[in-house]
């Protein structure tokens, strides 16, 4: 057992963080929010060349062939800058060998067949639908872009019906499970970004002739936030590693005790991200309630992710079913 990031994982993380910190900033996010439905294709292809979409796809399918552990490292980094676009579903599509997903030439969405709300519809090249354990490709339906999405970076269209499609995989449950896992990793990143932003502000902002971060009311809010995120991160990694190791060894290894399920990891990550984002807004006071700051984008994205690949509420049911 060595549950710290390996050197390779740390290098992957650093490379991605270096790129994303420069590239995906407040201005980029603001611009994306003002063009709902559009996808920044240049950024998309840069992300692809960094291996973001192909991270867990087989090398034969143009992927990087790494595990879910690496994928969670990647998606936490994407979350830390709240990168716009359907990155998770495109990454999942790549694992299914969907044309163009791994190399960034296709933007792919993935929804359950029983929803009439489709995220990012206008910008999609391919829409996948999941039902009854199957994944199908469907013709992109017409939809009405809703004017006021919960998350400005998650444009949502209302469609009349989801057309019938062509089956491309029977591994729908597995794919959706991976989607929940990556959503949880993304939420950990969002929460960490909120902690960082809140901490930076609390360390500079003065009121009553003191840096506000010296007030316990502020310090403890941020401490509780980072506690939640740190523990949630471990949970997400554990769920990923458990799946990777089970896949590698068909479950023969006894790592002792029970392992972390994806639904458990997601539930914890969702709570932690929400708490951290709300703490960030609270620490900022009024300015945290405006678009001057990205705190609202972190919170809203986390809330939007709560409703993808099955709701967080359903993850409660899933965990309860194992008890």
């Amino acid at each position: 057992m060595d549950f710290l990031l390996s050197d390779d994982q740390t290098a992957l993380q650093s490379e991605l963080r270096r790129f994303l910190t420069d590239r995906v900033d407040h201005d980029l996010r603001t611009a994306a929010a003002e063009l709902p439905g559009a996808i920044d294709r240049v950024l998309w292809s840069e992300l692809a060349s960094l291996g973001v979409f192909g991270i867990h796809a087989a090398e034969d399918d143009g992927g990087v062939g790494l595990g879910l552990a690496e994928a969670t490292v990647v998606f936490e980094e994407l979350g830390r800058v709240a990168v716009p676009g359907p990155t998770i579903s495109t990454c999942l599509a790549a694992t299914l060998g969907v044309e163009g997903a791994a190399d960034g030439t296709a933007v792919v969405g993935l929804i359950r067949a029983d929803t009439l709300l489709v995220e990012h519809l206008d910008g999609l090249d391919t829409l996948l639908v999941h039902h009854d354990g199957l994944v199908e490709t469907v013709a992109k339906p017409d939809g009405t872009l809703l004017p006021r999405p919960l998350d400005p970076l998650t444009p949502v269209s209302q469609v009349e019906a989801i057309p019938a499609g062509d089956e491309i995989s029977k591994a729908g449950e597995r794919v959706i499970q991976q989607g929940r896992l990556l959503a949880a990793a993304f939420q950990v990143g969002l929460g960490q970004a909120a902690v960082d932003l809140g901490t930076e502000y609390a360390g500079q902002r003065q009121q009553f002739n003191k840096v506000i971060g010296s007030f316990q009311a502020v310090k403890h809010l941020l401490a509780d936030a980072v506690v939640g995120i740190d523990i949630a991160r471990a949970g997400v990694h554990a769920a990923a590693v458990a799946l990777d190791e089970a896949a590698a060894s068909d479950g023969a290894n006894d790592s002792g005790g029970r392992s972390m399920s994806v639904d458990a990891a997601r539930l914890v990550a969702s709570e932690a991200a929400q708490r951290a984002c709300e703490a960030c807004i609270q620490v900022h006071g009024g300015i945290g309630f405006t678009w001057e700051l990205d705190a609202h984008l972190f919170l809203k994205r986390s809330l939007a992710l709560d409703a993808t690949f099955g709701t967080v509420h359903s993850s409660h049911d899933a965990v309860a079913a194992t008890l």
């Binding site: 709300l117 709300e278 807004i281 709560d306």
Partner: protein, 389 residues
């Protein structure tokens, strides 16, 4: 302890209810466009004028400056009945009728009262508030906007923040620093700033829910006549606190009653969607509803205290701390009930917009004194715990 109305209260409620039943159906529909600030304020001014003509403007204002001079209990009834009847909100008339107006009534000269108060009551003049600044939020008294005397005028420079209705206001109640060399509370002056003065630049800020609810206001050499000063020079902090002292415990009544309606709507939605079978959601809503009921009872206590003592003490802080927590909890339940319908605001899956309300709830622990400041107030003034340092 008596909750039953007095004969006067019952009569007031009956009369008002009849008037509302008669008046509201004839009202123009509320403007729909969330972004059209002028249409919204015109509508609210029209409503204020309607109230004025019927004798219901300034229910809580003393008669001597044009109000109805009613008891706090009748003010509560007014707010309750107008909310229940679905009447328009006070909206952009908030600062005028509840902050600036009462301050001028208490501290202004006779000329100032004559000049400003009627316009507020009639809905002619919208006011905004220029108190907070980027560097003076919780620590309001550290404000930096300066004013120096130049003949019969003050010349004002600085930046104000969180100014609601700045786009449509005729006047601004403004706090400026007129003496930088004394302790921070001692060098502040309260001015009436006409919003058409030269040198005012208003920049709307987009709020978390997407609307331009408030603005930044940049002041460059804005000249304000000395006669616009209310109270003495450098006595503005006390004057501003008089405003806050007008608190009669009713500031959140419409909001609280509105939240009860929100709960009722969410209950209906949960029943329709099957989420009502989930005891977690059902009990969560029961708790929220019970808390709102208790906060409503507490509001009546505050109002009774205001009637007896003139103000509610720390009652406003206590209410706000309880209320914001309940609203946060409600918002979380709403998102669970909505599921994927929560991905957008304005989808009208029911009468209320629960997504927008969930986001809006975040402001309740920030605006008008953060939860942290309110807890300091309660801990120090009510419990008598020592200040830090």
């Amino acid at each position: 302890m008596q909750l039953a109305p007095t004969a006067d209260e019952a009569a007031f409620r009956a009369e008002l209810r009849a008037w509302l039943a008669e008046t509201l159906p004839g009202l123009a529909p509320k403007p729909d466009d969330r972004e059209d600030w002028t249409a919204k304020s015109d509508y609210e001014r029209m409503w204020q004028r309607t109230l004025f003509d019927a004798g219901y403007a300034g229910v809580s204002w003393p008669k001597e400056y044009g109000g109805r001079g009613s008891t706090p209990a009748e003010e509560l009834i007014f707010l309750e009945e107008t909310e229940a009847a679905g009447a328009p909100y006070v909206g952009c008339n908030f600062v005028g009728t509840l902050h600036a107006g009462p301050t001028i009534g208490a501290e202004g000269s006779d000329e100032q009262k004559k000049q400003y108060l009627p316009g507020i009551l009639r809905g002619d003049d919208i006011w905004c508030q220029g108190f907070s600044e980027p560097e003076a939020g919780s620590d309001l008294a550290s404000l930096r906007t300066t004013a120096y005397r130049d003949g019969d005028e003050y010349v004002v420079n600085g930046q104000k923040m969180w100014t609601s209705n700045a786009q449509v206001a005729r006047y601004c109640e403004l706090l400026v620093r007129t003496d930088p060399d004394v302790k921070k509370h001692a060098g502040i002056t309260w001015l009436v700033m006409p919003m058409d003065a030269e040198g005012i630049e208003v920049r709307p800020l987009k709020s978390l829910t997407g609307g331009p609810e408030f603005s930044e206001m940049f002041l460059h050499d804005v000249r304000i006549p000395v006669e616009n000063r209310v109270g003495d020079e450098n006595d503005g902090w006390r004057v501003a606190m008089v405003t806050f002292g007008f608190e009669r415990g009713t500031a959140f009544v419409s909001e609280l009653l509105g939240t009860m309606a929100l709960v009722a709507d969410l209950v209906e939605l949960a029943k329709r969607s099957g989420h009502w079978d989930d005891a977690g959601i059902r009990h969560g809503l029961a708790r929220v509803s019970a808390e709102l009921d208790a906060q409503w009872a507490y509001t009546k206590r505050n109002v009774s205290r205001a009637a007896r003592d003139g103000n509610t003490g720390v009652g406003g802080s206590i209410f706000k701390l309880g209320y914001h927590e309940t609203r946060h909890r409600l918002g979380d339940i709403a998102m669970r009930v909505l599921g994927r319908q929560g991905l957008a605001m304005g989808t009208r899956v029911s009468d209320e917009d629960h997504v927008e309300e969930r986001l809006y709830a975040l402001s309740l622990s920030i605006a008008a004194g953060t939860a942290q400041i309110q807890r300091n107030i309660v801990g120090e003034r009510l419990l008598g715990l020592p200040r830090e340092r």
